[in-house]
Every structure is written in C-alpha cells, then in structure tokens.
Amino acid sequence: MASLITCPHCGVRPKEEFTIRGDASVTRPSPEADGEVWHAYVHLRDNPRGLHKEYWHHTSGCRRWLVVTRDTVSHDVIDVSDAGALA
C-alpha cells in the first residue's frame, strides 16, 4: 500500500496517521428495520478481490472520516474523499 495518503483536508500524510474502520459500502439501516437487514449490515461483507471502498479515520490529523477506494490485490489507493461529502 502507498505509504502516503492524500487527505482532502490535510494534504499528503503518512498512512500511520489513519485508523481503518472497514467496508464503506454498507449503509446503517433504520432502527425499525428487520433483523435480516441488521444482520446483513453488521455481519455480511462483499469482501471484493479488487476495488474496495472503506472508511478511514484521520485519527492523528483532521479527525475527519474519509472514504478510501483501494485495490485489495495491488494495494493501490485510487481515491480519497471526505465521508460527509459522499453521505
């Protein structure tokens, strides 16, 4: 994986400043949603071999949540966006 991540707020920063949360493709259901829907949200993952959108927290920087698009085979980082801008 690239050692440097381009944060949309802070610019080029070392990867170690970030904390990886995981899959950003799942959407939190409403509290009233069916148990099946919650099960899918909490547990089931696409786990793609290829491009993967994931939540990264810039823990040691601006502390914004970001969405990083990354290739799980080559580890190349394709895109970094602010999670709020995508919501």
């Binding site: 990886i20 786990n47 071999r49």
Partner: protein
C-alpha cells in the same frame, strides 16, 4: 512406481540403492467427469477433509481441486504452532480434539510431520491478566486439556532471557500448555495428500474453480479451468478466498480477508526451545529445527488478497518482539511473507451446511487455522458424510451471527481487524 509405506527399513533399503527408487508420494490424475464429493481448496483443511472422508467415513470417490500447487496457501505460510488454550465452550473441546489428533497424526498417516510438543507459554504482565489466564487455564482443564500456571521464577527458569524487568510490562508469570508445540507445516499437507491419494482421492492441482453449477436448488458440479466436474456433494475449504468461492453460489459470508505477516530470522544455535507468546502485545515465537526464529504478530488491519503486507506491521511486530526478548534486537530477519486470513465477524470458524442442500462450508479460521487442521478435516468430513455436525464443532454454525450466538474469544465485536 509403487506408493510404498514409509518405514525405517524402506529408508535403509532405498539408501542402499542410492535413493533412486523412491516413487512419487501421490498421483497427478486428470479429473474424472463426476465424483461423490468435490472439495474446493487443496490446503490443509481440504486435504484433511479428503483424508478423513476416505479413512474414517469410507467415501473414497473424492476430488480435491487446488488452483495453485499443494501448500501454496496458508498451510505453507503459518508459524506452525499447535495448542488448545481457548476459553469458550464452543471452541475449547474442538481445539482439544485437534490437539489429540496431532498427537497421533504421524502414526496415523505414516508421514514424519515433526510434531514437537515443546510447550506453549503465554506470558502475563499484571494481576488482572493473571486472573484472566487462571480462568482460561481452568476452562482448559474442565475440557480435558492440560494447563499449568507458572509464577515469575518458574518462567525465569524456563526462559531466562525474557525482558523480566521491563518497567512498562514486567513479566509476572505465564500459562503453560506442555502438550502444545509446533509441527512441520508443509509436511502436514504432504502427509494428508499422500494418505488421501493412497485411499483413492484424486488431488488435482492447477485446477481453479470458476463457477458452481446448480440445478433445482442443488449443486450439480463446478466449472473449472480443466472443464466441468460433476459432484454429489460440494465442500468449500478455500480459506482466504472463501467469500470469492461462496459468491459463486450467491452466498454472502460474515468474512473479510486480511493479510497476516510472518517472519523467520537467520539460523541460530538452539536459543528458545518452546513457543512463547507476549501478553502485552501480539507476538509469538519459536525456533525451527534449522535454527531460524519463526515469529509473527497482528494482522495488518485492512482487507487484502495480496499475500504481502506493509512495513508498519513489520515495525509493530519487531517492537513487541524486542519488548519481550530484548536480545532479539541483535538478530537479523531473513525473510517475511504474508498469508490471507478469512477473518470472521466473531473470530471463530464456520463448519456448517448452507441453505443449498448439498453444499458445505468450512471457513472463517482467522489466523488460527493451522492448529485446527486435523479436527477441521475430521469434523468437515463428518458433516459431509452424515449431514450432521461433529459434537465438538456443533457451535460453528453459519447462522449463529444472525441468531446472536457468537463465539467471540476476545470480545472484539463484529470488527474483523480487531480479532
């Protein structure tokens, strides 16, 4: 060439013939059009499943399909540790069953797997951790495993070179499982492959499964790089590629694939004669018979299929290692590599049927798959043969996530990179 039984006499006679008469250990067959059981994945768990299907359950019309070569996945990439020191009821009987199978494995499959019960020592560093390890040791004893709590002096007598006087993580003692130890990992793959092959199982290497063909809600066979292969039952034992293979049958799994790195140092004189793990960080170490120190730590923490990791995790492992054994700072690392872990949402595995009647799943081993190999194979074979779970694997259900019966040893929650 005859596939002979190995013995001291056969070694002697072959030595007299200049070791030119050894036959291959298993055949290289072309796939037949149909098998009673097809197993996807020729790693440790797939080969063990085939071996026990043939030996214990009398099902010999079996094929193991491996997309690479035998031992190319995690069975050849792990840190070779065996142990049964789990806390929870769903886990401990299974891992103790596995340890008992390890103890008789070499005689059972007539192959030298260098099973070495040199002891596994888990260090603790605080009063609270001593209490937690006491509880774990008692849970092990209740399930028929062995466990022994050592105080600081007893640990010092065993491994005097640890960092006992660390100001931050002083070593207070350890939980020792004497029956734990190490096994020559790729010999496990070879032994199971040879044993399965001798009983009629076809092991087909360089045969990648690309699709699962279904008809009327049942699996009828698999599309592969060597053409269609029909089957009566299909078992998936694809480890880090489990979600990829399960998706071919439209099954979503509670699994993320992560990379775990391992390391070996330059060869040294005998230095550490058991397995020691750090309690204040994730680090485990043993010494191979060639003299290299074999060690590892945490997963890197991001989804990966790359079989290689990053320097941040390397640095973390080295820091934990030198905190536990200060002398490690003088030792040079020879090699590092990565393996792809099928990290489940509770850190425990799945051995279960699926909603498709004749499709069986073995997955979610996280980074604990090697020690589980014999019991995993036995229990998966039991499930495939009888359509009922083996008693020690009954908790490893696929639907436990939906039903709330998680087996979460360390309370990490549904966050694979925390397990």
């Amino acid at each position: 060439m005859d596939l002979m039984r190995y013995s001291a006499l056969s070694v002697f006679l072959n030595a007299l013939r200049g070791n030119k008469s050894w036959g291959p250990a298993w055949r290289a067959p072309e796939p037949k059009p149909h098998y009673d059981v097809v197993i996807v994945g020729g790693g440790g768990h797939g080969l063990a499943t085939a071996y026990y299907l043939a030996k214990e359950f009398g099902i010999t019309n079996v094929a193991v399909l491996e997309k690479g070569w035998l031992g190319s996945g995690n069975i050849g990439r792990n840190t070779t540790i065996i142990r049964s020191n789990y806390l929870l009821d769903g886990n401990e009987p299974f891992y103790e069953f596995s340890l008992k199978l390890w103890e008789g494995l070499e005689q059972d499959f007539n192959f030298n797997a260098m099973v070495s019960q040199r002891g596994v020592l888990n260090l603790f560093h605080s009063d609270a951790q001593r209490d937690a390890y006491t509880r774990r040791g008692n849970a092990m004893l209740l399930q028929g495993a062995d466990a022994q709590l050592l105080d600081r002096d007893e640990v010092r007598a065993m491994v005097p070179f640890l960092g006992f006087d660390s100001a931050r993580f002083p070593i207070q003692g350890g939980l020792l499982q004497r029956r734990g130890g190490t096994v020559r990992h790729d010999a496990v793959a070879w032994g199971y492959a040879r044993g399965a092959d001798r009983r009629g199982v076809d092991i087909i290497q360089n045969c990648e499964v690309t699709g699962i063909r279904r008809k009327n809600g049942r699996v009828v066979g698999v599309e592969t790089s060597k053409g269609f292969i029909g089957c009566g039952k299909l078992a998936l034992t694809a480890a880090g590629n489990s979600t990829t293979v399960a998706r071919m049958a439209d099954i979503a799994l509670p699994i993320d694939s992560h990379v775990l790195q391992a390391f070996v140092s330059e060869g040294l004189k005998p230095f550490i004669d058991n397995v020691v793990t750090f309690g204040a960080g994730h680090f485990y170490i043993s010494q191979s018979d060639k003299g290299g120190l074999v060690f590892g730590g945490d997963i890197d923490g991001y989804n990966s299929y790359a079989q290689r990791g990053n320097l941040a995790a390397v640095e973390h492992v080295m820091e934990a290692g030198t905190a536990m054994i200060p002398g490690l700072s003088r030792i040079r690392v020879l090699r590092s590599w990565g393996g792809i872990m099928d990290m489940s949402m509770d850190g425990s595995p799945i051995i279960d049927r699926t909603h498709i009647d004749n499709l069986y799943l073995n997955a979610g081993w996280c980074y604990g798959g090697f020690k589980a190999t014999p019991a995993s194979g036995w229990c998966t074979a039991h499930l495939v043969a009888n359509d009922a779970p083996h008693p020690t694997a009954a908790a490893f259900r696929l639907d436990r996530f939906k039903r709330g019966y998680l087996i979460d040893e360390n309370g990490g929650g549904a966050q694979p990179n925390l397990h």
